[in-house]
Amino acid sequence: MTTPKIDLHPKPGDRVAKTTCYMCACRCGIDVHLKKDAGGTERVAYIEGNRDHPVNRGVLCAKGSAGIMQHLSPARLRAPLKRTGPRGSGQFEEIGWDEALQMVTDRLGPLRKTAPEKLAFFTGRDQSQSFTSFWAQAYGTPNYAAHGGFCSVNMAAAGIYTMGGAFWEFGQPDWERTELFMIFGVAEDHDSNPIKMGLGRLKARGVKVIGVNPVRTGYNAVADEWVGITPGTDGLFILSLIHCLLRAGKIDLDYLARFTNAPVLVNEDPKSPEHGLLLTDDNGRALVMDRATGKPAAFDAKGVRPDLAGKLRRAGLTHRSVFHHIADRYLDRAYAPEVVGPSCGIAPERIEAIAAELAHAAFDKSFELDRAWTDFRGETHQSMRARPVSFHAMRGISAHSNGFQTARALHLLQILLGSVEAPGGFRFKPPYPKPATAHPKPHSGVTPGQPLDGPHLGFVQGPDDLCLKEDGSPARIDKAFTWENPMSAHGMMHMVISNAHAGDPYPIDTLFLYMANMAWNSSMSTGRVMEMLTDTDENGDYVIPNIIYSDAYSSEMVAYADLVLPDTTYLERHDCISLLDRPICEADAAADAIRWPVVEPDRDVRGFQSVLVDLGARLGLPGFVNDDGSAKYQDYADYMVNHERRPGVGPLAGWRVGEKGLTHGRGTPNAGQIDAYVANGGFWMEHVPENAQYFKPWNMAYQEWAVDIGLFDKATPYLFSLWSEPLRRFQLAAEGHGHRQPPDHLRARIKTTLDPLPIWYPPLEDGHADPVEYPIHALTQRPAAMYHSWGSQNAWLRQIHGHNPMYLPTELWEKHNFQEGDWARVTSQHGEITVPVAQQAALNRHTIWTWNAIGKRRGAWALDDDAPEAKKGFLLNHLIHELLPPKGDGLRWSNSDPVTGQAAWFDLRVKVEKVPAPKQSYPDTGRQGSPVGRGPHRVAQQVKP
């Protein structure tokens, strides 16, 4: 028998270009294989993971490998578009860049001189927020933010306020050393590949994984134990775990005493304007009782041994440590498993058992890592004590209106176990740890013709830092940093369109959006948002006068813009994944990365960041022009190399020029920097020294290293804030203290929800929607193989998720006698949708869910009108409103977390009825014209020489 001859050695391409994936925000390194086609043009032939890259070490997810089809998508925009039909119609004419940029300059130039706040500039999930915010600040509008406010600000803010860093993509479990991993409410997260790789490593070591999620798919499917919790009750469950651990004394007293504010004394004088704040010495340093001397002392004094049980009698009053308050609160029977179990849908014995497992992992499996280190008090520890239990959480917790406090509760749990930054626990990635106090505060000071008085976003420390005008009205169009949501650290993008439409707190002129599908899946109550974008006043003018949008593809939002600035694909432009922003660091290393044009665009499109650089120069914005008014940067690549945020610190940390030649971290700009990145695979990485890799907030070796490479300018060790003073300051105001006072209708809510210690309260929608009429929780999940709305233009990915059934738990399925192929009407207080259903047994019995953002508007994304995405696919967003239903108090409460303003996507309550199968899913949002035509019928993607 002879074997046919086959080519066993095909070359994947003629050349490899190493850059960074952008099929999602995980930012994996990719090897792009380029091959010359018959005409001699280099084309993208194959994309695989870069093995040397710190994020993905060679692996890629489904989207990453399918990037080639995204890059070649028929939905790519081809030239700037000027609207010719009514908004929403998708009728445009293609225009040249000169005309497009002139249109923008003509509008925004005069606006800047008169009312810069009338420009609202909001961006989606790009990774150039340090750049876009710099531009907006130079322009002078206070109305800038990225998407974090509706995404996961609860997670970010709770983490940073509590421990100076968050889960999200800012930290990671110590995958190599942990002995138990517990994951709450995560489908994909931004760290898509690292989490999967981490789970794989745990599985290889046989380490137990506990998944807490109403739905058992993805990570929860591989979890050894699944806790199918009732949505919105995680906080209660976590506080019950804390109750069990405290009751058993299974907490890390030494860690709590040294590294947290548990021993710090709380002012307990009810008459004091500082009631509930922490006692400080004359220099403002928090006071603890020193076990060595029995006397009060500054927490960081040399040799001090903070007493967890500290009490101080002063002027007839006893001030007690934070830890006393913790014990008082969480030992209460209200948190006993048998009390909370039924609300959470978890058997009380199970809560006890999980608490026992946590304790077992943290304490019985503890070990010493043989690395000496010195803490901020100057004390040297001969080894690093492990607490090998780790946690991760994401939007399942944060996208609820009690998400901030729930995330705080989870951090409290981690900290009580002594596991944060301990070997085997949760570890920060540089530039974290960084306490809230080291972040900027928000600024909203507008002077026409001038830059804003400081960065837009930041971390307030109390009422004084709110963004309010003289008259107490909101300074920002999204009403971020107001009494309704004082700690809205990422802004509130989800409120922009409705506030702009209502002219509340003031009307705007131009809505400038970048990379956010706000007319579709990014908005709550999508149909209404479409109406607001197209609504006209008595003169027939649009209520939101001018909409400029940058997208790379023919999305739903494109149809609602007056002017569209077409971006390139991710393989055709420069991008900067910077330490100033959301870098690609690992717990053991600082790292940043670039994207660079590995192929040239074949259309009249420009990288949006370069367009902003150009606009900055045309508008004469400071930072974008030289003294003589000429453009400071040629394009974004030029900015990446030559911009300096602080002396010696620029967008990219690798290959800068130091005193003795090339250096990393701090240094002057290097003209060859981008070439150096390209040669190094598109990224730069510098390892954290071994003795600095754990206990980073208190580890002087880390602090000094971080200053060295320019993460911050001076060492800033700090204590974890179990007791959060900023929260308490707002409570104090609500109690009547201080000159800035909340409106009366908000006092009670602030008093309850802005508690300085983690609490749980039911999701706010529960108080508005009748739980009897709307008994079911409705959720969405990210599919691993799709990125929001963009995946559907990808010929490969859309076959995996071409439509999205609503999954119903077996009990509900049987109760309504559903059969395969049936449809249901799902109704909330705000609206109804009619959608296909499917059954799932491994699902919380009060919960239904669907994959996120699969539904598409007819005509978008170069798809056929009868594409399944448009006919059977649907958005849950139609059922969700940015305001809660009226409850008869004459007020409309926002559907957000009262602390941060985080959109409460997952608070939604619905009812379900069986209906006869319609021809398509409802509501029908109509059809938009396609400025790019339709995709080809057949595709066989192969580059042939």
Binding site: P4, G49, L199, W796
Partner: protein, 245 residues
Amino acid sequence: MTALPETTERKLGLVIDLDTCVGCHACVTACKGWNTQNYGAPLGDDDAYGAAPSGAFLNRIHSFEVQPDEGAAQTVHFPKSCLHCDDAPCVTVCPTGASYKRVEDGIVLVNETDCIGCGLCAWACPYGAREMDPIEGVMKKCTLCVDRIYNEALPEEDRVPACVRTCPAGARHFGDLADPDSDVSQLVAARGGMDLMPEQETKPVNKYLPPRPRDEIDVLAPFLERVDEGPKGFLGWLDRALERL
């Protein structure tokens, strides 16, 4: 050619860990990407942007639910590609000899230039591992990345199937299952690797590692003894504990 070799020198194949697969479909598109550019005709997609898109894929991820007699239902993500069977019925039915099993490594391949696209081999495969290309009209199937695993144009570490190289969770393993000392054979032995549809007597080379038991409580974790009832008792304990620090 359609006669099966008596034995093959090696039995290259995949070991797929159902305990670890998170169902991310990464292996699906990595496979599509590599095999669209390489071995044989590109994997086509029909009605690619239309109402009923349908393309050829060599590897697909199904998801199953298992309802045990007691306890919560479990979800198992289930990747499936050709299992490179020892007794491959797809080979013997082929009228043209286009389908064959390689003597040297046991890989089952389709020689596309000989294939008439009759589809019989796909009928003969119990696993649904063969798909007709909608554009080229030839039978496509997993090649075990035969053009990667020996490929001297690739760095040595990359000479593994595209799906294995990309799997973020590390749920896919590649190796010689004829060699009892290979990593894959040892995994199979340690984890009770199993055959799919053994009653079909195809003797698959690929093995599946079953999910580990789910929802079991760690019996080693001791029950949490209470230090003392109530906050008062607790503070007493705290004092004692702090003394010991």
